[in-house]
């Protein structure tokens, strides 16, 4: 039964890659987390999206905004813990530049609507809300239209929008 539930809820690396390309992204700036190994394999094997690896997540925000200034369309892929680490880059750059930015944030500790014990999950949405960063949740390939919707929202508001990834990539 558990296997069926997981299959039903699958979020595939290939699906995420397709969604990013369909939305026009050119670069992925990221720091891997324990749940995104398959996504890294897919990105590394793809020659249309440039992968920029960073040492710490705050770098990723600034690099992505630099790419945006230069006319590219980057997406930042980090975990919620890295989102917290990036705080001053988000405050000082992402929320100050007036430019669209998509953040795909791994929702560590997300328990599919049930009670959450991990503070990396408990504080994620309240912090996003406090900063006025809109967010939506994706858990399976069927949700991936949320990527394009979030990007449209980011362009409209001229600021960051977060897609929270509530499922491991498969």
């Amino acid at each position: 039964m558990a296997t069926e539930t997981r299959t039903e809820a699958a979020l595939s690396a290939a699906g995420v890659l397709r969604a990013l390309k369909a939305a026009g992204f050119t670069d992925v700036v990221w720091l891997p987390d324990s749940e995104s190994g398959f996504l890294h394999q897919a990105l590394a094997a793809d020659d249309t999206l440039r992968l920029v690896s960073v040492c710490r997540e705050g770098e990723a925000i600034a690099i992505a905004l630099g790419l945006t200034v230069a006319g590219r369309q980057p997406v930042v892929i980090i975990q919620s813990t890295g989102f917290f680490e990036s705080g001053d880059s988000i405050r000082g750059a992402a929320l100050s530049f007036g430019m669209p930015l998509l953040l795909m944030v791994g929702y560590r500790g997300w328990s599919y609507g049930g009670p959450m014990a991990d503070t990396a999950a408990i504080y994620l949405e309240p912090v996003l809300d406090a900063w006025g960063i809109p967010h939506n949740l994706i858990e399976r390939d069927d949700d991936l239209e949320g990527v394009e919707q979030a990007w449209a929202q980011a362009r409209e508001r001229g600021g960051p929008v977060a897609v929270l990834v509530g499922q491991e990539y498969e």
């Binding site: 040492c55 705050g58 905004l65 630099g66 790419l67 006319g71 001053d88 007036g98 430019m99």
Partner: protein, 197 residues
């Protein structure tokens, strides 16, 4: 263990900025902290300048992003020593990304001058040039006098990067007022300029 460097010779910070401004052609300049306050006195291309203040040392990262996005344009980053210490991993990130058009210049005065001149941790006991080399950046310079810096600057700007330059500089002392332009405004203007060229 003896300190790595006990030398005290330093370049006048403003004179260094003046020399860079005199050799600048169409380079994009990202600057932070002290240089963000003083560079507007010398820059003759404000539309290509991007002051980046208050993001805990991320000027090198912002410059890297611009350099990767526009490989046809050279990007100069003026970093502070305290700022770079907050983002040392960016040296490794830059070395790995290998942008040929990025020149990272750290102005090392040994102080957090913008907050009143408190010493940075380990002042005089470590080497930024060694950190850059150890991070995998091959093209590394260090200058503590204006004449050799001025003599080598054309070479620095001609090199295939990424290039790292450590300038041992004096404190400015009485800083110029904060830049009038808002950072986001400058970023959006630079984006427009780059989109049109």
């Amino acid at each position: 263990m003896a300190a790595i460097s006990t030398q005290t010779r330093r370049i006048d910070c403003l004179a260094a900025l003046e020399v860079i401004a005199s050799r600048r052609t169409d380079q994009i300049v990202v600057n932070t902290m002290v240089t963000a306050r003083e560079w507007p006195r010398y820059s003759e291309a404000e539309d290509l300048d991007l002051p980046f203040i208050g993001c805990m040392g991320k000027a090198s990262s912002l410059g890297l992003g611009i350099a990767l996005g526009r490989p046809d344009r050279q990007v100069l980053v003026f970093d502070g020593d305290g700022s770079l210490l907050m983002n040392l991993g960016s040296l490794v990130t830059i070395a790995a990304a290998r942008p040929k058009n990025l020149v990272l210049i750290v102005f090392e005065n040994g102080k957090y001058e913008i907050t009143g001149g408190q010493p940075i941790p380990g002042e005089g006991q470590f080497s930024f040039a060694a950190l850059a080399r150890g991070s995998g950046i091959e093209c590394v310079y260090e200058f503590d006098a204006l004449e050799p810096f001025a003599a080598h600057l054309d070479e620095v700007l001609r090199n295939e990067g990424p290039t790292f330059v450590c300038l041992k500089v004096t404190e400015v002392g009485r800083l110029s007022p904060k830049p009038g332009r808002v950072m986001g405004e400058a970023a959006r203007r630079l984006r427009e300029v780059l989109a049109s060229t």
